[in-house]
C-alpha cells in the first residue's frame, strides 16, 4: 500500500500578496454568501497574533485600523482616526479619533481603547510577533481626551504611522484584551470591523456574518454602510488543483493562491484573475559578503547584469507578475524605480568579471588565482516550486557568463540556524512589509544580517531612515539605501511577489488593501444571492 505525501500541501506556506480590481457583473444585489477558498488554516483568529498571509486575510474583516493606506495612491488616509500629528523626531504620535465607531459588543472605540490595545500588544510580547516589531521602543499611550490619544516612544520609530494601517495593529474591545492569548486565537476577538465571527472549524472553514450598523469604512471604499453580503465563508483547501476546480465548478466564488500554472486554466473557464504585487522585499538573491568569492562585490555586480528578469517572469511565472525594479516592490512606501540598473546586459557582466581578474577556465567557468567561480545559493523548502525553477533558470543564465551556481534546498525549519551560520554565498528570499524599514530589519545587524553588512554608507542610510520623522528626508534615505543595495551588489532583485486571486465572473467589488489582503465590504454577487 502506498501513500504519496502531498507535496502540494506544502504550498500551504505560500506567501500570498495583494491586488486590486473589480470583476464586472450584472444586476449585483445585496445579501447572499460568498465562498472563498484559502490555502491554509488561519491557526489563530486574533488579528493581533495572526501571522500567515491567509490568516491575515481572514482576520482583516474583523477589525479596523487607526489609519488606512490607500493601495492606489499610496497615501495614508483616515479610518478609526480622522487625523494625526507626528513630532519631527518620530517619537510621539497624536491621533484624533472619529465619532461613533463601536466594537461589536457596543463599547466605543475611544482613546482609552486605543491605549489599552497598545499596552495589551506590548504585554502579548513575542506572541504578537509583527506588532512587536512595529511597537519597538514603545513607552506609553496618553489619553488626552476621549477622542484624542498620544502614543509615545522611547526612541524614534518612523515606521509606526504606516504600521497603524496594518491588520496586526487592528483594534479589539476591552473584553477581548482581558482574555488569555490562546483563547483569543481559538475563539476570535470582538472588533469593530464589517464582519463578525460566526463559526470556526479548524482545518475546514471560518464563517463570518455581516455586522449590521457598520458605518466607518475608509473613504476609498465605495460602500459607506454595512457590508452587502450576509455571510463570508472561508474554506480551507490546501490543494491548488482542488481550489481552482472549486472555482470552475461554482463551489467557490473566489480562490487565493492561484499559481502561475493555473492562471490559463482559470482564464479559459471565463473566470477573472485579479493580481497585485505585495509590498515588501521582492523575491531575489541576497549576497553574503563575508564569503571570499563575492566579498569584493565584483561578482554580485556582474550577476546583477547577467540575470534576465524578464525571461524569468515570462518562462516561470505568468503575466500577472512583474520583474523587480528595486529591492523593494512597487507598492512599498518609499520605493524608487531603479529598473534602468537591472536590464539584462551579459556583455557588461562579462566585462565586470574580466576587469576583476576572473578569466575563463578549463570547463568554461571562470577562475581567479586558481579559484573556480562556483557559488552556493540556498533556498528554503517547502517551496511553491517557484524558487527552485526561478533559480534553475538563473543558473542557466549565469552559466553563459562563466558563473557556476549550485542550488542547495534547505528545510525552512533550519532557517534561523542557516541565517546565523551564513553557510551560503547567495540566499533566495523575500519578506512582506508595508514599510521600507524592512530593509533595516533584513540587511543590518539589528536583524540576523543575512548579507553580513558592516559599517558604511548603506548601514548609515538604513539606520537614519528608521529615526527620521520628516517624510521627505526619510524618503531620501530610503532611496539612497535601495540604490546602494543594487550598486554595491548586496541584493540581486528578481521579481515582485504577487497575490493572484481567481474570481467568479458573478462577483464584483473585491478589493485589495495596501498589504494586498482582500477586503469584502464592497462585494456583491450577481444573480441569486445565497448558496
Amino acid at each position: 500500500m502506498r501513500h504519496l505525501v502531498p507535496s502540494a500541501a506544502a504550498v500551504a506556506f505560500l506567501i500570498a500578496g495583494c491586488g486590486a480590481g473589480d470583476a464586472a457583473g450584472s444586476s449585483a444585489q445585496a445579501g447572499g454568501t460568498l465562498t472563498v477558498a484559502v490555502t491554509s488554516d488561519p491557526q489563530c483568529l486574533d488579528p493581533q497574533q495572526a501571522g500567515s498571509s491567509d490568516a491575515i486575510t481572514v482576520n482583516r474583516q474583523f477589525v479596523d485600523s487607526l489609519t488606512d493606506h490607500d493601495p492606489d495612491t499610496g497615501k495614508l488616509g483616515g479610518w478609526l482616526a480622522t487625523s494625526w500629528e507626528a513630532d519631527p523626531k518620530a517619537t510621539s504620535f497624536t491621533f484624533h479619533l472619529r465619532e461613533g465607531a463601536t466594537f461589536s459588543d457596543g463599547t466605543p472605540v475611544d482613546a482609552q481603547a486605543v491605549k489599552d490595545n497598545f499596552d495589551g500588544l506590548v504585554k502579548l510580547g513575542a506572541k504578537a510577533v509583527q506588532a512587536a516589531t512595529y511597537l519597538s521602543g514603545y513607552r506609553e499611550s496618553v489619553v488626552v481626551d476621549p477622542r484624542t490619544v498620544r502614543v509615545e516612544f522611547a526612541k524614534p520609530n518612523a515606521q509606526f504611522l504606516e504600521a497603524t494601517s496594518t491588520t496586526s495593529l487592528g483594534l479589539v474591545a476591552k473584553s477581548s484584551l482581558a482574555q488569555p492569548a490562546a483563547d483569543r486565537c481559538a475563539n476570535g476577538v470582538v472588533g469593530s470591523g464589517p464582519f463578525l465571527l460566526e463559526q470556526y472549524t479548524r482545518n475546514q472553514q471560518v464563517v463570518q456574518r455581516r455586522r449590521d450598523g457598520y458605518a466607518w469604512s475608509p473613504a476609498r471604499i465605495t460602500n459607506r454602510g454595512a457590508a452587502y453580503l450576509d455571510r463570508l465563508v472561508f474554506k480551507i483547501v490546501p490543494e491548488a488543483n482542488v481550489r481552482v476546480g472549486l472555482l470552475e465548478s461554482g463551489q467557490a466564488d473566489a480562490v487565493l493562491g492561484v499559481g502561475p500554472q493555473d492562471t490559463d486554466r482559470v482564464k479559459r473557464a471565463g473566470l477573472v484573475i485579479s493580481a497585485r504585487p505585495n509590498p515588501g522585499l521582492v523575491y531575489g538573491i541576497n549576497v553574503n559578503r563575508s564569503r571570499p568569492l563575492v566579498a569584493d562585490g565584483a561578482v554580485p555586480r556582474a550577476i546583477q547584469r547577467a540575470v534576465d528578469r524578464r525571461q524569468v517572469v515570462d518562462t516561470i511565472l505568468s503575466p500577472d507578475y512583474h520583474p523587480a525594479t528595486s529591492v523593494l516592490s512597487a507598492p512599498t512606501l518609499g520605493y524608487v524605480d531603479l529598473g534602468g540598473k537591472l536590464s539584462a546586459d551579459p556583455a557588461a557582466a562579462t566585462e565586470i568579471l574580466t576587469t576583476a581578474g576572473w578569466v575563463p577556465g578549463a570547463d568554461g567557468m571562470r577562475v581567479r588565482n586558481g579559484q573556480r567561480l562556483s557559488l552556493v545559493v540556498r533556498y528554503y523548502t517547502p517551496d511553491s516550486g517557484l524558487a527552485q525553477s526561478s533559480l534553475e533558470l538563473i543558473q542557466q543564465q549565469l552559466k553563459k557568463i562563466g558563473v557556476d551556481v549550485v542550488l542547495k534546498p534547505t528545510p525552512v525549519a533550519q532557517a534561523i540556524q542557516t541565517f546565523k551560520d551564513g553557510d551560503y554565498d547567495l540566499i533566495w528570499g523575500n519578506a512582506s512589509a508595508a514599510d521600507p524599514d524592512i530593509l533595516r530589519n533584513y540587511f543590518t545587524v539589528q536583524g540576523l544580517n543575512a548579507v553580513r553588512l558592516t559599517a558604511g554608507p548603506l548601514q548609515d542610510a538604513l539606520y537614519a531612515q528608521a529615526g527620521e520623522g520628516d517624510p521627505a528626508r526619510r524618503a531620501q534615505q530610503v532611496a539612497l539605501a535601495q540604490q546602494l543595495l543594487l550598486d554595491d551588489g548586496w541584493a540581486i532583485p528578481v521579481y515582485e511577489p504577487t497575490t493572484v486571486v481567481g474570481l467568479s465572473a458573478k462577483v464584483r467589488g473585491v478589493r485589495f488593501d495596501a498589504a494586498s489582503r482582500l477586503q469584502f465590504i464592497d462585494v456583491q454577487r450577481a444573480g441569486k444571492g445565497g448558496k
Partner: protein, 323 residues
C-alpha cells in the same frame, strides 16, 4: 485465555510507551525548530532578541531530558500540552477531530472489507478463466496507484465535472463518499490479494476434496469450508490495515479538505508542532494497539488451536471439516 489476553495487553502498553519515546526522540533530534517554520524565510528580518523571546515562550529553551520526563508524566495523565502554533490544548483538539477521522476510517474499512473480500470470492469462484484473471488483476492496480492521485481524479470527475458530490468538507454522508472510497481502495486491494491467494491455497487442501466427495455444493465448499480457514491471514492483515487507514487519512483529509486527526497531523509535522505530533502519534498507536488486541482476541474464535499454545503443524486435520 485470560493469560493470553494479559500477555497481549502488556505488549500493547510497551508499544504505546515506545511510540511516545521514539517520536519524542525523533522530533527533538531533528535539526531545525518550530520558530523557524513559523517565521519562514523572513526569519532573517527579526532581531536575535525577538527570536529568543519566541523560543522561550514556546518552552524550546528547556533541557531535552527534563522535557521528556515532564511530558511523559503529563501524557500519562492524558495531558499532551498545548500546540506551539495555536496555543490550544492538544488533547481536546485531537478529541474534537477524532470522530470525523473514526467515521472516515470505519466507512473506508467496511468498504475495503466488503469490496476486497467480495472480489476475492468472486475471482476464486468464477468458472471462466478470463473473468477470474480480470478480477485477480484489479487489486494489483488498486495497490499501485497513489491514493493522492486517485483522490484528485475523483474530485475532478465526480465533483467538478459531473457535480454529483461535494469536493470537500464534513457535511453529511455526501461529503464522506469520495474520501472513504479513496481511502478504501488501497486497503481493499491488499485484502483482496491476500484473501484470494489464501483461498486458492485452501481450496487445494485435501479436506476440501473430501468435502466435495461427500457431495457439498460449490457454494458450500467455498463459503462454509474454505472461507473460514482462509480468513486468518486477512484478519491479521485487518489490524495492519487500520494503521494504514490512519496514515491514509493524512493524505485523504488533506486532498478533500476534511477536518480530522490526519489533517491535524500533516499540519503539525509541516510546522514542527511537536506537542501536537506527539499527541497524534500516541493516539494513532492507541488505535493500532486496540485493533490488534481485538485481532489477537479473534484468533482463538476462528481457530481454537491458538489458545492452547501447542504447536500444530499447518496441515494437520481440522476437526471441523468432517461433515
Amino acid at each position: 485465555m485470560t493469560r493470553y489476553v494479559a500477555q497481549r495487553a502488556v505488549r500493547a502498553l510497551f508499544v504505546l510507551w515506545a511510540a511516545f519515546t521514539v517520536s519524542f526522540a525523533m522530533l527533538y533530534l531533528l535539526p531545525g525548530d518550530p520558530v523557524s517554520v513559523m517565521l519562514g524565510g523572513s526569519a532573517g528580518t527579526y532581531t536575535p532578541a525577538q527570536i529568543d523571546d519566541l523560543r522561550s515562550q514556546y518552552g524550546l529553551d528547556r533541557s531535552v531530558p527534563g522535557q521528556y520526563v515532564t511530558q511523559l508524566w503529563h501524557a500519562l495523565h492524558g495531558d499532551f500540552g498545548t500546540s506551539i502554533r495555536t496555543g490550544a490544548p492538544v488533547a481536546p483538539m485531537l478529541a474534537q477531530a477524532l470522530p470525523q477521522t473514526a467515521l472516515l476510517a470505519l466507512t473506508a474499512f467496511v468498504l475495503a472489507v466488503v469490496g476486497g473480500l467480495g472480489i476475492a470470492l468472486a475471482a476464486t469462484s468464477s468458472r471462466r478463466p478470463a473473468v477470474r484473471q480480470v478480477l485477480l488483476s484489479l487489486p494489483g492496480i488498486g495497490t499501485s496507484v497513489p491514493t493522492f492521485w486517485v483522490g484528485l481524479l475523483l474530485v475532478d470527475f465526480v465533483s467538478f465535472r459531473w457535480r454529483l458530490l461535494p469536493a470537500l468538507g464534513n457535511d453529511g454522508w455526501q461529503s464522506l463518499v469520495l474520501p472513504a472510497v479513496t481511502l478504501a481502495l488501497p486497503c481493499g486491494s491488499v485484502l483482496a490479494q491476500v484473501f484470494a491467494k489464501s483461498l486458492r491455497d485452501t481450496l487445494r487442501e485435501p479436506y476440501l476434496d473430501t468435502a466435495r466427495a461427500k457431495g457439498a455444493g460449490r457454494a458450500r465448499v467455498h463459503l462454509r469450508h474454505a472461507a473460514r480457514n482462509a480468513a486468518l491471514p486477512a484478519v491479521t492483515l485487518s489490524g495492519i490495515i487500520v494503521g494504514n487507514l490512519l496514515a491514509g487519512a493524512v493524505v485523504v483529509e488533506t486532498v478533500f479538505s476534511r477536518e480530522g486527526v490526519g489533517r491535524i497531523t500533516a499540519e503539525a509535522v509541516l510546522g514542527q508542532d511537536i506537542p501536537v505530533v506527539q499527541g497524534a502519534v500516541v493516539l494513532g498507536a492507541v488505535g493500532f494497539v486496540l485493533v490488534n488486541l481485538a485481532v489477537d482476541a479473534a484468533y482463538p474464535v476462528l481457530d481454537p488451536r491458538i489458545t492452547t499454545g501447542r504447536p500444530v503443524p499447518r496441515k494437520e486435520a481440522d476437526p471441523r471439516w468432517s461433515i
